[in-house]
């Protein structure tokens, strides 16, 4: 029955898209026409790719944690700490110069990932060692990050918001970047986009082709089966949660250094719920890393379209438009509500229980 619903939904969505494109082409000045021209513009595409970075990488990290049985709802917090710590590190080392022959932006990325992994380790210890409620502990990680970002920013920059640091330069691959469309999308783009694309493939490979990937799945579905097969469930879960820290760290730091060039720590920070959108993304993708990458394009695309609309000067309230990606998450969740969580997700596992 749910299959039927999703088929019908997909059909309706496809039909709407066709109507939109036809109307848009026939009447370029109409609403659909403007939307179509925004959707078709290269700026929107490149922006989509860049905005997808934190969502896609956080989602891939979240897949590993949740597949292993640890629901990491603190991923939003990991994005925040990696984002601002990468900016702070770059600032301290000196933006624009190099250390040990490596650009300080890259050192900032390394620091951001390390800090994110540190927080993931803390979360893992709390959940695995001390059997904390994973959801509550995840919320705690998020709230700590929400306090820590402006706290540190105030000490370092004297304001909750960091000073502007400049971003990664796009890396252009000769020859390949000349390919139409694919060229400017995939071969003339900043490094964090390459990281995202590589991360999605690596995540897929790790999960589906290596024995570690099999252990992660078994640990989330039936930890006892894994335990009796002689694999230490705790180690697998530690590794999976730390991995989620690595991916989220790349996402947060890559977003801050490659897209923002600064980090606002006030309110919901510059991350603004992207970690939670990442969770919705991997649920939508049914825990498939490549699917999560594509799903992140949906949310990032909505985001960049919204920016495009604002730039086009349409007199629609920007605040309302800004809610579109969030509202979309809700709609998506209702339709994918039946995504089956791993059997043992959220439960701690103790060897030797009978």
């Amino acid at each position: 029955m749910s299959d039927l619903v999703s088929k019908r939904t997909a059909g309706a969505a496809a039909a709407l898209t066709v109507v939109w494109i036809v109307v848009g082409l026939l009447a370029p000045d109409s609403w659909p026409g403007v939307l179509l021209s925004i959707a078709a513009s290269p700026n929107t595409h490149t922006a989509t790719l860049r905005l997808a970075v934190p969502i896609a990488l956080a989602a891939i990290g979240g897949i590993f944690a949740e597949k292993s049985g640890v629901i990491n709802i603190g991923i939003e917090g990991l994005l925040i700490v990696s984002g601002f710590s990468s900016i702070v590190a770059t600032y301290w080392l000196g933006s624009g110069s190099t250390t040990l022959g490596l650009s300080n932006h890259w050192w900032g990325l390394v620091v951001g990932v390390l800090i994110s992994v540190l927080f993931a380790l803390l979360f893992a210890v709390v959940c695995i060692e001390f059997k904390a409620d994973q959801i509550i502990a995840g919320l705690a990680v998020w709230l700590i990050a929400l306090g820590l970002a402006p706290f540190v920013s105030r000490i370092v920059f004297g304001s909750p918001n960091a000073t502007t640091m400049g971003t990664f330069k796009p890396v252009t691959v000769p020859v390949l970047s000349e390919i139409p469309i694919l060229g400017y999308l995939l071969f003339d783009t900043p490094p964090q986009v390459y990281l995202m694309l590589f991360g999605a493939v690596a995540g897929w490979y790790l999960l589906f082709r290596t024995s570690f990937g099999r252990w992660v799945v078994a640990s989330g579905e039936n930890p006892k089966a894994l335990d009796t097969a002689g694999v230490d469930v705790r180690k697998v879960r530690y590794a999976a949660v730390l991995l989620s820290g690595v991916f989220a760290g790349l996402g947060g730091a890559g977003f801050a250094l490659g897209q923002l060039g600064t980090f606002a720590g006030g309110g919901q920070t510059d991350i603004a719920g992207r970690g939670f959108i990442a969770i919705a993304t991997y649920l939508l993708a049914n825990y498939h890393p490549i699917g999560a990458l594509l799903g992140s394009f949906l949310f990032a695309g909505l985001n960049s379209m919204q920016n495009g609309l604002q730039a086009a000067g349409y007199a629609i309230p920007t605040e309302l438009i800004r809610t579109i990606p969030y509202a979309t998450v809700i709609v998506v969740l209702v339709f994918v509500g039946r995504t089956r969580l791993p059997e043992a997700a959220g439960e701690d596992y103790e060897s030797g229980e009978d």
């Binding site: 306090g147 998450v329 339709f335 509500g337």
Partner: protein, 411 residues
């Protein structure tokens, strides 16, 4: 001596209610400790003229001073001269306590029903706007003075509760009938609430006399009145009446849980949904009902924020709803515990102002502390292990009189 201690610890571990209180207190201390270390270390990265010099490294911040400002500043520095009971610091503390009781109750009701409502913030935002708009418009047709107070305040609170309740019902319905995870939907609805209220404000209700995004003020007689003689002065934005109402609501919720069929069903659903279904509880209806009640409590929080603190709705709503999560978690989701936890967080929030004025430490420290408290409360096992280390080795675990789990040993 060690035996006595072990005995005491044993008894404490046995008593679960007492254990919860102990864990909460221990979590508080642990958070303060970690926060202190954080303050001290971060002082090493700040710049200042005078500080503690250690091995050529200057540490600017003194954690003791920070906590002195935090805890005593919140009470108006009672150890310093010229202290009065009705001081500004204490008024701010109690004002926050009042608001946090509503927010904490909102979260606790949902948690007890097994639902993680992270959306109290959004429910409070929309509820508050509904209150401000309702009162501003109703003031035009209701006579002023005492009658206005008696009519407008209940009306405003009612409007906040209804709209907040409706906004809370949305994730409830999505969960019950669409199986959408309420943690994610409520967080998303917080963002949606911010956007939608801002839009509604600029569309219709913006105060024409201000550049700030805010509504027009409610008439003065529609603000929560102060008690004469024993009350705090009007400029302190706190009313004992409001606190009394919050405490009454708290007792009401405790009564609801303990004594009513609805409360019984709600608690059963939260602990063991399968058993609730077996006992004749309609799971979906319970999900929607408890989320609605939770949202209504959040909306009431918004109403009091409008009617007691600012007299109008501002776009920049403080994060009371998120702090409500910390309050409820620290209170073990018990309504009476919410009162105590709300006071503690009231102290933290009020004290953050004194930190801002009395020290160079960023007041955002308080946000970190709340997060740490939640983290520590979430891991009771940590404190149990700590407690066990103080017990002499070889203390056997208590055995059951009839030999364990009955017939389930070999199943």
């Amino acid at each position: 001596m060690r035996d006595r201690l072990a005995e005491v610890l044993d008894r404490l571990v046995g008593a679960s209610a007492l254990e919860r209180v102990l864990i909460s207190v221990a979590a508080l201390f642990a958070a303060v400790l970690v926060g202190g270390v954080l303050v001290f270390v971060s002082g090493g990265f700040a710049t200042c003229r005078t500080g503690l010099d250690l091995a050529g490294w200057t540490f600017c911040y003194n954690p003791m001073q920070v906590y002195y400002e935090l805890f005593l500043g919140a009470l108006g520095h009672p150890l310093e001269g010229g202290w009065q009971l009705t001081n500004f610091g204490l008024a701010t503390t109690l004002q926050r306590t009042t608001l946090l009781i509503f927010a904490g109750l909102s979260v606790a009701v949902a948690f007890r029903a097994g639902l993680l409502n992270i959306g109290t913030q959004g429910q409070l935002v929309v509820g508050g706007l509904a209150t401000a708009v309702t009162v501003v418009y109703a003031a035009a047709i209701v006579p002023g003075g005492f009658i206005g107070t008696v009519v407008l305040i209940p009306l405003g609170v009612f409007a906040g509760a209804v709209v907040g309740g409706f906004y809370g019902a949305i994730p409830g319905v999505l969960k019950a009938y669409g199986d959408a995870n309420e943690v994610i939907t409520t967080i998303m609805l917080n963002f949606v609430a911010t956007g939608v209220t801002a839009t509604i404000l600029s569309w219709q209700f913006q105060d024409p006399n201000s550049n700030n995004p805010q509504t027009r003020p409610v008439p003065e007689y529609a603000e929560i009145p102060n008690l004469p003689l024993i009350g705090f002065s009007g400029r302190m934005d706190f009313s004992l009446l409001a606190l009394a109402f919050a405490v009454a609501l708290m007792i009401g919720i405790a009564w609801l849980f303990a004594r009513t069929s609805f409360g019984y069903e709600l608690r059963t659903s939260g602990l063991q949904p399968e058993a609730a279904a077996y006992g004749g509880v309609d799971e979906r209806r319970m999900t929607v009902a408890s989320m609605t009640l939770s949202g209504a409590l959040g909306g009431i929080g918004g109403a009091f924020w409008v009617l007691m603190v600012h007299g109008r709705w501002l776009e920049n709503v403080p994060s009371l709803g998120f702090d409500g999560i910390a309050v409820s978690v620290l209170a073990g989701n018990s309504p009476v515990g919410v009162g105590a936890a709300a006071f503690l967080f009231g102290v933290l929030q009020s004290g953050s102002r004194s930190i801002g004025t009395g020290t160079d430490v960023p007041p955002e420290l308080v946000g970190i502390l709340s997060g740490l408290i939640i983290l520590f409360v979430a891991m009771p096992e940590f404190f149990r292990m700590l407690g066990l280390r103080f017990r002499p080795a070889g203390t056997s675990q208590p055995a059951r009189a009839d030999g364990g789990e009955g017939g389930d040993v070999d199943e």
